[in-house]
């Protein structure tokens, strides 16, 4: 229907447990345009990683997609058989995980891991794939790549390993990369370099990125649009300038209490009193209501759906008037 590269519609991720079903991602919808960088922020446990895992089809059982659709270039991918989805992973959707120290198989040379991935997806010979691997390592900023290609992961530092991981994610030229907190495990001094690298590469290769982080600073510098997640739902989503400079949702406003710098995420989140509810104890109505300074009666009863306010969508009852106005104007 649209020109969106990725479209997530009413996605719901659940864990069946002995004491009932836990709904970790609850009815979220968003899309990513080709080449666009969508930042996804939220406290730990908000459902960011599960959303990413659902998109690449690697939810770990018993976690499962309970409802909704995921479309890649207009084609549904959430219900594909494993083998079909496997061909999409790496080829059309790449992934970068949090911890570069554990993302690589310690027993294989980094080059062999890249070559293996390239040859899984592209009809290249061993020699061609090797050349491509060296070029890629060079491109992600690893010096003397022709030599380093034959090194083992333990011979690289954390930052360098994350560069290798990025090369691996990009090696079959996917259209989309899901990067789940790609810098959280790194030294603060290297975080900015890695973010800059991801940003540059994706611009050059016209790769779209779903960049998961709990760091607003990274989002402000990198993303085109941002989705703020809270307790498995999207609180607010819109162009990064509007969300950062003119946050509408009370939760986002709390996050924006100070203009952030890379690495200072924890302090800022502490500015909002209280903590995010556990999945077993999500309050009725707006999940944020126990912590919200502006909560009123309705917030404790009815769940707010995303309401378009200007360029952003906000799931907050404060903006119902805006919807009413829009309805009148429309």
């Amino acid at each position: 229907m649209s020109s969106a590269l990725l479209e997530v519609r009413n996605l719901r991720v659940e864990f069946p447990t002995r004491r009932g079903t836990l709904r970790a991602v609850d009815d979220i919808s968003f899309s990513i345009a080709p080449g666009e960088v969508l930042g996804v922020v939220g406290e730990s446990g908000a459902g960011k990683s599960l959303t990413g895992a659902a998109i690449i089809g690697l939810l770990e059982p018993p976690g499962r997609i309970a409802a909704g659709e995921i479309l890649l270039e207009g084609r549904r991918i959430d219900n594909l058989p494993y083998e079909e989805l496997r061909k999409i992973r790496g080829r059309q959707i790449g992934a970068i995980f949090q911890d570069p120290l554990t993302s690589l198989n310690p027993l294989y040379r980094v080059g062999d891991q890249i070559i293996e991935t390239i040859r899984t997806h592209l009809p290249l010979s061993e020699a061609q794939a090797r050349k491509r691997a060296i070029d890629l390592l060079q491109e992600v900023g690893i010096s003397s790549a022709a030599e380093r290609v034959d090194h083992y992961p333990h011979q690289f530092s954390g930052g360098m390993r994350q560069r290798v991981v990025i090369a691996l994610a990009l090696c079959a030229e996917p259209r989309l990369i899901v990067a789940d907190e790609p810098t959280t495990a790194l030294d603060v001094s290297i975080q900015a370099q890695i973010i800059t690298l991801i940003k540059r590469l994706c611009r050059e290769h016209k790769t779209a990125v779903m960049l998961v982080t709990h760091d607003m600073g990274v989002i402000a510098e990198t993303a085109d649009r941002v989705a703020v997640m809270y307790a498995g739902r999207i609180a607010e989503i819109g162009p990064v300038r509007d969300v950062v400079q003119n946050a509408k949702h009370p939760y986002t406003q709390g996050l924006m209490g100070a203009i952030p710098s890379i690495g200072g995420a924890e302090e800022r989140l502490a500015q909002i009193e209280g903590s995010m509810p556990r999945l077993t104890a999500i309050p009725p109505g707006c999940a944020f209501n126990p912590r919200c300074p502006k909560a009123f009666d309705r917030c404790r009863v009815d769940r707010p759906e995303p309401i378009p306010v200007g360029t952003t969508q906000v799931a907050c009852w404060l903006y119902e008037d805006a919807r009413a106005k829009e309805a009148v104007h429309g």
């Binding site: 992973r89 554990t102 690589l104 027993l107 030599e147 011979q155 530092s157 991981v165």
Partner: protein, 330 residues
Amino acid sequence: MIAYVLRRLIQSMLVMLTVAFVAFSLFSFVGDPVANMAGEDASQRDRDQLRRDLGLADPFPLRFVRFVGGVLQGEFGFSYRNLQPVARLIVDRLPATVELAVSATALALLVGVPMGVYCGLNRSSALAQAIQAVSLVGISLPTFVTGILLILTFSVGLGWLPPFGRGDTVRIGWWQTGLLSVSGIKSLLLPSVTLAMFQMALVMRLVRSEMMEVLRKDFIKFARARGLTSRAVNFGHALRNTLVPVITITGLQFGSAVAFAIVTETVFQWPGLGLLFVQAVAYVDIPVMATYLVLISFFFVVINLVVDLLYYAIDPRLRDGGPGGTGKGR
């Protein structure tokens, strides 16, 4: 690397010297071979003469030094029982035991590894749980019970396989092999299955639990996210990472198969080293017993060395000075 091997060799020498000392001194005090050899009605003079001929009248340290000196030159002395050189007896019996131990270990690996992989990958399937349950029996059933049950079934009941002996053998150089005749192979079946049963169950359970552990690792998740085939993920990446513990256990088990073939060899009257040892014990045949123990310790030492070298071959993190040296490049 070479320094390492040398260091290990020196350590091994010390281990073997200790074993030789313990074995030799133990046996020197456990009984009097002269009583056996001279017979009931020999006179005291005959006995003293025999004692001197055997060198038993000399002080213990001198006898030990003489034994070690002999061993170093490949002289293991003469058996008290039939006055043949011990080296000849060992050479005659060694092939039977080695063929039994090798075939049992090969069987344990060929059956145990695939079953372990299967159970690790499909841990909740009915077949996996059945295998898991049966393996518990394999672990807990004593070897002689397994052996007797097999004899009852396949020899006494069905009459398919011979209950004892090695069948026809063929001589290749000094090696007397049972692998080249039909009766030899048939005779090998029951003893090697008996000896393999415990190892098979052990290997299967080890591979299963290691597989389950490795499959949870980040690099497996990342390998899936790169779109590698299930085959590449499960066998290339996961199985290879289980090899180090599997090789350790296999090595030790092979050593045990040689050492503890005693029971199996006794049950099946298999003419190997174990049977030789049992006969030697009955006769207080000190040179044979001491040589047997030194030989077994030599096996273990060699196996340990091989296992260590295999670690180096498998895990690059253990290798110093791999390609590009040890450097953790920043």
